[in-house]
Symmetry: C2
């Protein structure tokens, strides 16, 4: 067992904040505590305003600032923005204002895709907001170098409601997946980034449509690895011996909350708290 | 031309407020100004927090109170709650606090269904929130009398995203409609209430699945008729000669706003204003 660095125990024992537009980010929370079982997590899902994927960049930035402001108020030592749309539209703003390190999911997914591609033809699927932002495209070009990579992006707006309704195995989901993914097949991508936290639930279907030669990248594992590096770099890793206590908070306890939550989380989430984050920014309500 | 009643001109010239969770309520707005072309409308769509259909009754009540509070602040003479989920969860609260008459869509749809059914076997489709509320069931039993009517209700949560993505004609929509509607076909309903403002867009598909003997009820026309009666009863009908000016306001201008809006509205909506209603209630932010 590595020894704890002196002087950083107090900060290091604070929880890691994980923020998502809803419950999809629980896949990221799960990846974090499987990789770093000593870290306490404080999850916040903005279930009152979900989804973010079709909303304006300004609205997503405003909602995201309120969410991380809540996490800061609870004393988190770092924040993971588990939502691809929030990362795409808001990460730069959140980082500029942040008192703690902030990790997003886009760079992590792009790094995994850059490492995995042989043909340098990479596909990205996500919400309309994530795709329109061009964030993955920019991150991949930055990593691989300008013209050396071809990025093909496709919004898949029906995938989130299909997953939330538990219809991922329905024949209608297969029809919709075939239609969405056909352009990416035609472009002969060899890597496909699942650029939305809901999509890993559809991975078997997506893999079947794309064929066995296409590698699927799930940003959750990559984001957990990036968080580990960032905590280490800041001397913020927890060295506690006892099991940490996780907290799960949401802005609404929606209809059929339990069945949707367990679809992402696997384990029981225990008690889930409702918290109010609307209007929590100090400047108060305003046109954003 | 009937003469205007004396003394009510000022109030009567104020606009009618129309509130929906998003843009689906534009079908109701259209029905109102086709029926009453002298009435000025002020539409508010809560596009920042749409959809309401899967959110908790408490969240829907809170959002709805903020929305109508905004409409009151703009001097409306009456409010139409065009959203079925908001009507189902919030109408009683909104009416208890309202300074002006408030019309919902559930009672209007239930009245039309009660008038149309011969077998007294009525089907209702809507969001999970609307169906779980039991509001249509209650309204129909009240109208037709306790045991005399059989109500069969079915949530259809994928219908809204299918319409919003313009996939109403896609084969996947037909598969999903067949699955959702099968239980209602088995119950041999002779009337089916389209209990969500998005569903009239899918009426041809729903009619094909249900068969020609089933009458489809669209609450928009019924709600417009109810509004006309209510305005007349309160002496609030507009007698203006010039064409009224309509205003369209939303809490967010989401991605692909124009294409979605025109799908519901038909005509051009002109300029759409973004307004901020979160936290506008006098008691300020609180756990609702």
């Amino acid at each position: 067992m590595t020894e704890a660095p002196a002087g950083s125990l107090d900060a290091a024992d604070r929880p890691v904040g994980v923020f998502d537009s809803g419950l999809g980010g629980l896949t990221v929370a799960r990846a974090i505590f499987r990789r770093m079982p000593r870290e306490a997590l404080l999850y916040f899902g903005d279930t009152a305003r979900v989804p973010y994927g079709s909303k304006s960049p300004d609205a997503v930035r405003h909602f995201s600032r309120e969410a991380v402001h809540y996490l800061y108020s609870q004393g988190v030592k770092a924040v993971v923005v588990a939502c691809n749309t929030a990362t795409a539209h808001a990460l730069h703003v959140l980082r500029a204002e942040a008192p703690v390190p902030v990790v997003g999911v886009v760079a992590a997914g792009a790094r995994a895709a850059a490492a995995a591609t042989r043909s340098r033809r990479v596909g990205i699927i996500g919400t309309a907001g994530t795709i329109d932002s061009g964030a993955y495209d920019l991150a991949l070009r930055h990593l691989v170098g300008g013209e050396a990579v071809k990025v093909y992006a496709q919004p898949c707006p029906l995938f989130v409601p299909l997953v939330e309704e538990g219809l991922g195995d329905h024949p209608a989901a297969a029809l919709i997946a075939a239609e969405y993914l056909q352009p990416l097949k035609e472009m002969a991508v060899d890597v496909l980034v699942l650029g939305c936290t809901h999509y890993p639930i559809l991975a078997p279907l997506i893999a079947e449509v794309m064929g066995p030669e296409v590698i699927l990248v799930d940003s959750a594992e990559e984001a957990a690895a990036e968080l580990e590096s960032v905590l280490a770099a800041h001397g913020l890793q927890s060295w506690r011996v006892e099991s940490p206590t996780h907290r799960f908070t949401v802005s609404d306890l929606p209809i059929r909350f339990g069945s949707i939550g367990s679809r992402f989380f696997g384990d029981s989430m225990g008690r889930v708290e409702q918290v109010h984050v609307e209007g929590c920014l100090s400047e108060g309500p305003a046109l954003w």
